[in-house]
Symmetry: C2
Subunit: 394 residues, 2 copies
């Protein structure tokens, strides 16, 4: 049982980067772009707003951002208004909440918007905020923010499987190449060939600058509706067909294997099972490449290849157009940047545009029917997965 | 249409106050108490966790608190895990999210927990965090934190309707009297007769110390399940029968009347309409008395009395046991304190205990069938309402 069918019927991702704008202005920009992109959308028909935002309290010194976003977007939610936070997966959480509310019949026409303002005058302040995402009192004193944690994952993966820096660079090269087809991306019109990536400064060995996603200001928004409203807005609705999440631990002392992401296996099994498909049916996947090593471990946990084969999968281009399936065609977190609350929403926007065949051919998945979106959060201790299909459940 | 019936089948509110505990310890305590209070609850059966928390980023220097709460409570959510933030209504948002997920069939057995740690070594730091709840760049420079804003509401209500300080004190006296029946309350075993309240220090005229809810450390948790699981846990399930929210504005420059809370009227109409009842059917209401004037304006917006009659309603004791209906029997925010994310959950716990006739007779509503829970957030710009019933929808 999963309520009435729910579809994404349009979406936008305005320009991402180090933007001279406030949190509120990013929300305003996304709202204006959304009404332009979905001409049939009328503000008074939007009954609910779901806001994904990770740390506006630290990055923008503003809490209670849901009504702020509503005001900036010209919306007056009269069914449900809320903000969801799940660190790097905050945007996907907003979409999942909208999905549940609509499936339950508590909302008919909703907007999910993700917003994050991360570039501050003091980047030390911004980095301190990022440290709050891990278990601060236990893991913080050991320096466990994101780059050192994912560096440990990479080191362990190299030890166990012989994964190489060149294989890591292959992920970054692919995603930056895709980002060059996406004007919204932070690193649009910046080229990162493998030999350049391998000479960039080391951040946390073996992760170099090009192995790490950036601190990004950005927003993204989608319109999500119940089945009977879908055709009002689009001829190419994208149907929510599955959802899965899994939370393993918080304190790193309670973590299991660094390289076997059990939580992702659980979450993907749940979401794919709900859609009644397997990973082989996917045409397209947006996965959480906060670091190059993340995408490699995700290939394995998703079952796209065997344990330890993720590096080879990357080097062989099996996630590029013409490979097994298209992975991170919008450019991923590495190419687009990673405004925490916006990322999960922008991934859904890409799925919508892929299904509508409205992306440049250099990143278009051939005639896609099924897509998966994955976000991890924190120290990969929580995994969140959505599965989208071209057809509603029969 | 609103999916399958959903019930709250148990809940706890551990001790609130200025506690020498961390955010994580408050969550742990709520989890331990919940398993004691609901003996049939097994950790492995809980598929989802919804965490209400307003500003752990500022109060506890910790974000990504959903998996932290899961770990501390001994839960491993495998369907949905998220934190919701809606300032002072964050706890109710967690319950609404759980309700939507279960109604949609995406979760069967969930826990909603609200946690806030607000007492810091530096209360200036804590007050700065509270300032983030209003529109910081526009309203912050004018000093518009909560006490000055609600003081303006009180001044305007006095001007328009002749409301008196004595009538404000009547609200505080009632709620503190109720709090003396509730060992969890921050102000348990503290008496506040009206004459004492009227001599307390002025905070923001006309609001004195006893007119303001406190900075509180506290947590509360409930178990929420789909219809077919309810009788496993309790003989007295409390059914979610209605929900309503309304968001008017964010920037105070966009506010309408200070004393006519249109958003609450909309939200209550929606929630009561969904339950197919009127305000006259309510036996019990938990309303958001962050300040005494709030409860008075809420009487009016809910339609318990006419515009301008809220002060008289309070002075006449129409919200006490033996009055029109019982209002804020657990002691309200004034008597219990107001740990932002926990309040909305604790209000639902009170409804559960009232329906189970397990509260002291001094605050027991006579044989309750219907209850309403209200939270406002920010500058009363968002109103959130739930309606609970003793019977499932037929």
């Amino acid at each position: 049982m999963s309520g009435r069918p729910v579809a994404i019927v349009g979406g936008v991702t305005p320009k991402w980067g180090a933007r001279p704008t406030t949190w509120a202005e990013l929300a305003q920009e996304a709202g204006a772009a959304l009404f332009r992109a979905v001409p049939a959308l009328r503000a008074e028909d939007v009954d609910s707003l779901f806001v994904g935002a990770a740390e506006p309290e630290r990055f923008a010194f503003q809490s209670h951002v849901a009504p702020l976003a509503a005001e900036q977007m010209g919306l007056r939610p009269h069914k449900i208004l809320q903000r969801t936070e799940l660190a790097c997966a905050s945007g996907q959480s907003a979409i999942r909440s909208a999905y549940a509310a609509i499936a339950a019949g508590l909302s008919d026409i909703a907007v999910a918007v993700g917003v994050e303002k991360m570039n501050l005058p003091s980047m030390a302040e911004a980095n301190s905020a990022m440290g709050c995402v891990m278990d601060r009192p236990w893991d913080g004193p050991h320096g466990a923010t994101a780059p050192p944690f994912f560096a440990m994952v990479a080191q362990r993966h190299m030890l166990e499987y012989g994964t190489t820096e060149e294989q890591l660079a292959a992920v970054s090269e692919k995603n930056h190449r895709f980002a060059n087809t996406n004007p919204s991306a932070q690193f649009y019109e910046k080229t990162f060939p493998r030999e350049k990536l391998l000479r960039l400064p080391m951040i946390a060995p073996p992760l170099r600058l090009g192995d790490c996603s950036a601190m990004t200001d950005g927003a993204a928004a989608v319109v999500i509706v119940g089945q009977e409203f879908a055709r009002r807005y689009t001829d190419t609705p994208v149907w929510v067909r599955g959802t899965g999440q899994y939370s393993d631990f918080h304190n790193l002392a309670n973590a299991g294997s660094l390289t076997d992401w059990v939580g992702l296996k659980h979450a993907a099994r749940e979401a794919l099972g709900m859609a009644k498909i397997t990973v082989r049916d996917l045409d397209l996947a947006e996965v959480h490449d906060c670091f190059t090593i993340s995408e490699i471990v995700e290939y394995e946990a998703l079952g796209l290849c065997g344990a330890g084969e993720g590096g080879t999968f990357a080097a062989d281009g099996r996630g590029a157009v013409g490979g097994d399936l298209v992975i991170n065609p919008r450019g991923g977190l590495l190419g687009c940047g990673h405004p925490l609350g916006a990322t999960g929403v922008a991934q859904a926007v890409e799925v919508y545009q892929q299904f509508a065949h409205s992306v440049p051919s250099a990143r278009q998945a051939p005639d896609p029917e099924w897509a998966l979106v994955h976000n991890l959060s924190g120290s990969a201790n929580v995994h969140s997965v959505m599965v989208y299909g071209r057809e509603a459940a029969g």
